[in-house]
Point group: C2
Chain length 338, copies 2
DNA sequence: TTGTAGGCGTTATCAA
DNA sequence: TTGATAACGCCTACAA
């Protein structure tokens, strides 16, 4: 491995001169600089990241932690983060699984974005206490070294519920996410609030898991209990699609016997038949904002918590018109922002 | 930041003793070890990765480089890689974009898996020359420090073409990937070979881009030229789905006027109407094998290039039966492995 | 403008 | 069984 020492020897200068030249310091003659640069290139010199990181106490790398690599949500989110990172001189790496948590405390990365509810809040707070900078996307956490960029779950869930209620539904199933999911809990809370305002609406909670299988299981229960047109709010699209899959094998017709609405507007939801009504938000912006916030707190700039706004996307999966002209609205309205 | 030096001071021993104790060496009394461990825990000691990497000249981190973060192919691939990595004491990070190439030459990672055709082969060879270990998933590269784990593109493309020909198609459009894509080139080569054997089959190449938009553009051309039932082999599912989307707006009926087959068996292909015929392979296994190979060459074990086998998945998107009993086959056969 | 030297936190080689 | 000490490759006062 060729180091600045080798370059120094070859150029007949000291290693500090080489270091200065390489780092573009102006404490060095143009002449020596170009000579050193030429030799560096000739020798195929590449700086050693570990040494630099050790000395400078920063790696210029940011990490994002995901529960798994598969989610459809992640693509845009990550590319949003990446573009901000790169523009600010940072590199982005994507990590998953408990093993890689060490990257943060061991100072391999300068900061982390968390979208992984299996990452314990207690652990995060511990890291924050030690001075590590963190942005959380999936929980509320109060600490000077932690910033939040959260979805406006309340608005989204409210939009969804009201959309179903506007169709005249008085019986609404709500399929939740897994135990411990912040998003699920928040959305559920909004569901509760809405239904408290609407005396004639009965809602039934079904425990799900944010995966297709959860939607399928929920579908089976609904099929069994079916007696009248119902609305279903799946707290994410994945489950909504699992439900549609299962329902397609039954005699119930989506958009007639049963109205379904999801959350996330993943790509698939546009392909399912009929098009899934869902709650949309800019995943790219979410990621970009998270990266911005992280870089700011690393720089020591003060930041406030941020919120990502949502809209309702209409489609054929809600179409029942159980009771027309309820509240004077009709399903034909365009997407509305909350 | 608390270092072994602090622990040493607190424990009244030297830093080397601390290092030994922390690394589980048996050159240290159980008594002193437990004392040191206790103090380390009490002080919240965390080793510094940069220092360790600098000294040991290895990071125990492997990197995988992707063109972008969005592809549907990646989820299973990455989780396959991760499980192998973790089992072998490595961590996995996912990178994208030119900026992050530096991770390899700067020795931040111990090796790389490449699935990014924008990563120049010349650059990879350069790194390999310097001793870096690499596994390529998207090209052929001959170098002692580089191993290949490639899809059996030839088998897949052959299966696809023969499936269309068995329907009686004598006119087949082939929609390619972007310039420079190895997979596209290989699949195209197989197409050429098949059609050389089949004198009465005419095939037309349309340049695509492996994205939905390319499939849409191809669809438009096919609609314009349409005069008789045709077969279309899109060299990946993404384009096939773009084509289906566009065709849905036209008068041509998929599976009757036009037969479509893709490649990759992405999740979406099961949701498109009718179900897309495609070429399937285990993405998880692909990733797992790539990781295994990489770890082996890092360890200095000799390895051969590997191949991932493919199968044909049937569906409604090929159903025309242009000319029945061609070759004595019918479309109702089950998926066959090549 | 360039050189000397100390140190970042570890590991590892010798002595003791 | 433990302790000094020298690296690993780089940066950066401070000196020359």
């Amino acid at each position: 491995m060729v180091s600045i020492k080798d370059i120094a020897k070859q150029a007949g200068v000291s290693i500090s001169t080489v270091s200065y030249a390489l780092n573009g310091s102006n404490k060095v003659t143009d002449e020596t600089r170009s000579k050193i640069l030429a030799i560096a290139k000739e020798l195929n010199y590449v700086p050693n990241a570990a040494a630099r990181t050790l000395k400078k106490r920063e790696s210029k790398i940011l990490g994002v932690f995901l529960t798994d690599f598969s989610g459809d949500v992640y693509g845009d989110l990550l590319s949003g983060m990446k573009s901000v990172c790169n523009a600010q001189g940072y590199d982005l790496i994507v990590c998953s699984g408990k093993q890689s948590h060490r990257m943060l405390p061991e100072r391999m990365i300068d900061g982390a974005v968390i979208l992984d509810h299996t990452f314990a809040s207690k652990e995060l707070l511990q890291y924050a206490d030690r001075g590590h900078k963190i942005v959380v996307l999936d929980r509320e956490l109060d600490h000077p070294n932690i910033n939040q960029v959260l979805l406006d779950n309340k608005a989204g869930a409210t939009l969804a519920m009201e959309h179903l209620i506007e169709q005249g539904h008085t019986k609404i199933y709500v399929v939740t996410g897994p135990e411990g999911s912040f998003d699920s809990a928040q959305r559920l809370k909004a569901v509760r609030q809405v239904s408290e305002r609407e005396a004639n609406v009965e809602w039934i909670e079904i425990t799900g898991d944010f995966e297709k299988s959860g939607g399928e299981r929920a579908a089976e229960r609904i099929i069994q209990e079916y007696s009248q047109p119902v609305g279903v709010f799946c707290l994410n699209d994945e489950m909504a699609i699992g439900m549609c899959d299962r329902l397609a094998e039954s005699e119930l017709n989506i958009g007639r016997d049963i109205d379904i609405i999801g959350f996330d507007n993943i790509e698939l939801s546009k392909y399912v038949q009929p098009r899934l009504v869902t709650i949309d938000y800019s995943k790219r912006k979410w990621g970009a904002l998270a990266a911005e916030q992280l870089i700011k707190i690393i720089a020591g700039d003060p930041v406030d918590h941020e919120r990502i706004y949502v809209t309702l996307v209409e489609g054929g999966s809600v179409n029942s018109q159980v009771q027309s002209d309820y509240h004077g609205h009709t399903q034909s309205e365009k997407a509305v922002s909350y």
